[in-house]
Amino acid sequence: MATPLSPRTRTLTVIAQDPSVLRPDGNILTARVEVPAERLAPGPWGHRVHVIDYDASTGRLYRPRTDAADRDPYEHVRDASRLLDDPCFHAQNCYAVAMSTLARFERALGRRVSWGFSGHQLKVAPHAFLDANAFYSRRDEALMFGWFHSDTGPVYACLSHDVVAHETTHAVLDGLRERYTDPSSPDQAAFHEGFADVVALLSVFAMPEVVAVALGARPGPRRDVLPRSALTPDALRRSALLGLAEQMGRQLQNVRGAALRRSALLEPDRRLYRAPEYLEPHRRGELLVAAMMNAFVQVWAARLEALREIQRGCLDRERVVQEGADVADRLLTTAIRALDYAPPVDLQFGDYLRGLLAADREDQPDDRRYLCRDALERTFRAYGIDPAAETSAAGRRSWLLRPGGVDVEGTHFASMQHEPDEVFRFVWQNRELLELSDDAYTRVLSVRPCTRVAGDGFVLHETVAEYVQILDLQPDELRSLGIRRPAGMPDDLSVTLYGGGVLVFDEYGRLKLHVSKSVRDAEEQSVRLAYLAAHGGLRGPGARRFSALHRRRNLARIERPAERW
């Protein structure tokens, strides 16, 4: 299909998952992804993504193709070596996956999404260095992918769909929620990692080509049908989740971790969420992935139950595949939209689950068709993650739906849709209703109008604004606020407390929802400080946080800050 599906988008050839995932004929499984149409400069170099193929280990800067501005030169290439040995294909692969991931976020959120740094163009280095690592760096405004030799030849992180989507998700999430990289709690430390895996894996499963291969080709006369016994949640867990995990390039396990494999093998157990080994960020992130991927197979299996059999006890294989890809795509939308209903600071998995349920309710008021909410709540709870309560333990309202008594005196509807100063006026005027702290520094981080298409086809206009509150305190001031001072906290160390919220306004400019964390919630702040003190996080994170995080996963290192001097 050489002509674009619509003038607003174009399609580009990518490696569907990674070079180890093959078509039944033994060729690398490729796919065509849709990206926004734009006039590309050589790189590819577009308005949001700029591929610069510099290798710091060898000192080489590869030249980009100059003949690919508006076509896909790899559309008909079947020969694996012509893809693997051509750095320009690697560049296209990165560009297309990064761009389609960004576009996926923008489509789900119904608005433009900025990166986590002030520039517009994310730099991508497909062969940045000789290292089994890949990461996003806010400071360098870039994604960097390593390459290395293995017994079977060179391995390139930039050719793995899930790895590129994972790193792009870090960059997007950092733009949506800049405070999620702050030291806070085990959940917040793990969220970036878990969420990036969730988006990466659901993006991969949203491609029917991959689902078909993951389910495994059945040679023989009955290859077009699948028996119902192979389509229970448990069977799908083994065939699709584990099946794909087994086919993924093994050498990249050091780069990507084993979240998919573990989501298939990790038996639900409510104790895991509190277990000490699940305090390590990369391990804890796997719980989020396991809950999400298990919800995926649950919903998929439930949808298949309703399908008509084409033979006795059997379903059409094609249809099974398509349903799987649809469900993955739908859950991906929900997973992304949930961010709008998640507090901007000190995120707990329970807050995110509450956001997931709200996002899904907004999209599908009636759960009977997809059964997503039911499945999400069940699988998250099965791994020990319960939805956050609407009122915190200290009695603060963290989830305020359509409150009465809002003061809109003097604020202008039109300005409220994009001007931080106008929204700040609103916040200031309603500080009592919103339960803000008077003595904290308050700033509106973003104001974004959105246009979303709901499941029933209706168009929904909303404005989402985000603010933070920051309170700098000396350790001896903590007690007067009812916050417990962690043992061993040095006197000279000032502590920073964060609070903040998300305001969702409906199409008439009325406050629809306020999701918040209070900077003065003594109980939550005490727990956070105790965690930071025990994990060496009181002095703030280092530069290039993701590089360090991914390295710890590489080396399976356990941090023991309490043993250090």
Binding site: I52, S57, G59, F129
Partner: protein, 429 residues
């Protein structure tokens, strides 16, 4: 036990070797003294020491033990613990390692990871042997990586600050293979080559009668597994990918995609210049991170020995860091044994996590003021070689030194004048 099979005194001689360890333990038995050399190496000589320092130390060891060593302990394979064992090919100009060899030690004690037969133990199931082999191969791969790193450093030097380059070179060189010294040690023992692990015999039983020597580290692969429930990313595999052999060596102009078009060196298009600089900086930082990680992994193969004689305890942990200590400290019986340590050789030259706080908390002989029986600590180090105070990783780590100073009788080799070779400590047993 008769009087002649029990030492009455222990003298510990701590040599000033700069960044490194060299300790000579002399147990006075009624008939004669018996001498155990614990480590001998340096990777950064003291200021104004003069080039011949290590040779002078070797000669002093020979004098002190009257030409006969009973045992040599080499805690681990790092340069600063074994460079003194390197031999020369020239019989007219013997190297320090030739001097030590001429002292014909009966026993050489090393960690199990040095055992050339590590993977051929017939009593172990193959899966474990395989893991053991992989672990040892991983250490080899790390040293291969250190080599390629030094080559790459040569290329990157121009783009990075001098301090960072020096750090990289220092830690990189620490982790090179040091073949002459390693080979010398493999064939030096007159009677026993002991390769030890937590809970094993020390190999010193025959040469030190009446002294109990417990091995508290390194743990074996199986022992490490006991305190670590999950393992699905494998560190050894990671090192294998990065440095198993010369293929990983990156040199300018070579690498992957030999035939692909690239810009000639020095002609970077304007739009790529900022990013190229950033990427070079990222690479330097990553190399430092990697080389530190491999340095730690090697430190964690350190032999930890607890000597007990006449009811007094002396602890020599090499450069063991928390991951090595974790197994021993997970056992209440071992914690009990560590409570009354009298002499502690400070682990890893005083780095931030080689004297785990939970270990330090066990020592009952700590006290804020001098008193008989107060804990004696020996710190063999040289500041400014390893880590940085900006990242709170300087060696020796200041808060630790402060704690040692205020809670024990601390001796640091840095306090000796340039002309002084050592300090002696004596303990009645």
């Amino acid at each position: 036990m008769t009087a002649s099979t029990k030492p009455g005194k222990l003298a510990v001689r701590a040599y000033q070797v700069g960044f490194g360890d060299c300790l000579l333990l002399s147990f006075a038995y009624p008939d004669r003294e018996r001498h155990v050399l614990v480590d001998f190496g340096s990777s950064g000589l003291p200021e104004n020491a003069g080039a011949g320092l290590i040779k002078r130390v070797a000669n002093d060891i020979a004098d002190r033990c009257h030409g006969k060593l009973d045992a040599v302990v080499v805690s681990h394979r790092h340069l600063d613990h074994l460079s003194g064992f390197a031999t020369s090919n020239n019989p007219k100009r013997p190297a320090p390692g030739d001097v030590i060899r001429s002292l014909r030690p009966a026993v050489v004690v090393q960690p199990w990871t040095e055992d050339p037969d590590a993977a051929t133990d017939a009593t172990k199931p193959t899966a474990i042997l395989h893991r053991k082999l992989a672990f040892v191969a991983g250490l080899g791969a790390m040293q291969g990586f250190a080599e390629s790193l030094l080559r790459e450093l040569h290329l990157l030097r121009r783009t990075m600050g001098k301090r960072l380059a020096d750090q990289l070179a220092f830690v990189g060189e620490q982790n090179l293979k040091n073949l002459p010294a390693v080979q010398n040690l493999m064939t030096m023992a007159q009677d026993t080559q002991a390769y030890v692990h937590f809970g094993s015999r020390s190999g010193l039983e025959s040469v030190l009668p009446g002294v109990k020597v417990r091995v508290l580290g390194p743990p074996t692969v199986e022992q490490s597994d006991e305190i670590r429930r999950e393992r699905d990313t494998d560190e050894n595999e990671f090192w294998h990918l990065l440095g198993a052999d010369g293929r990983a060596v990156a040199t300018r102009g070579h690498g992957t995609f030999r035939r692909a078009a690239s810009w000639p060196a020095g002609t970077v298009p304007r739009h790529a210049r900022w990013f190229k600089r950033r990427l070079a900086a990222v690479r330097s930082d990553a190399l430092l991170e990697l080389v530190r990680a491999l340095d730690e992994a090697m430190n964690n193969t350190s032999v930890i020995l607890l000597f007990e004689a006449g009811g007094k305890k002396f602890l020599f942990p090499g450069d063991a860091q928390i991951e090595n200590w974790a197994y021993a400290l997970s056992r209440p019986d071992v914690c009990q044994q560590l409570r009354d340590v009298l002499l502690y050789k400070v682990g890893h030259h005083g780095s931030l996590n080689a004297t785990p706080k939970s270990l330090w908390a066990l020592f009952r002989n700590r006290s804020p003021s001098p008193r008989p029986g107060r804990l004696q600590t020996i710190l063999s180090t040289k500041a400014g070689k390893h880590g940085s105070s900006q990242n709170k990783t300087e060696v020796p780590r200041k808060p630790l030194v402060h704690e040692l100073q205020s809670q024990s009788d601390l001796f640091t080799t840095q306090s000796l004048s340039a002309k002084t070779l050592y300090r002696d400590f004596e303990f009645e047993l």
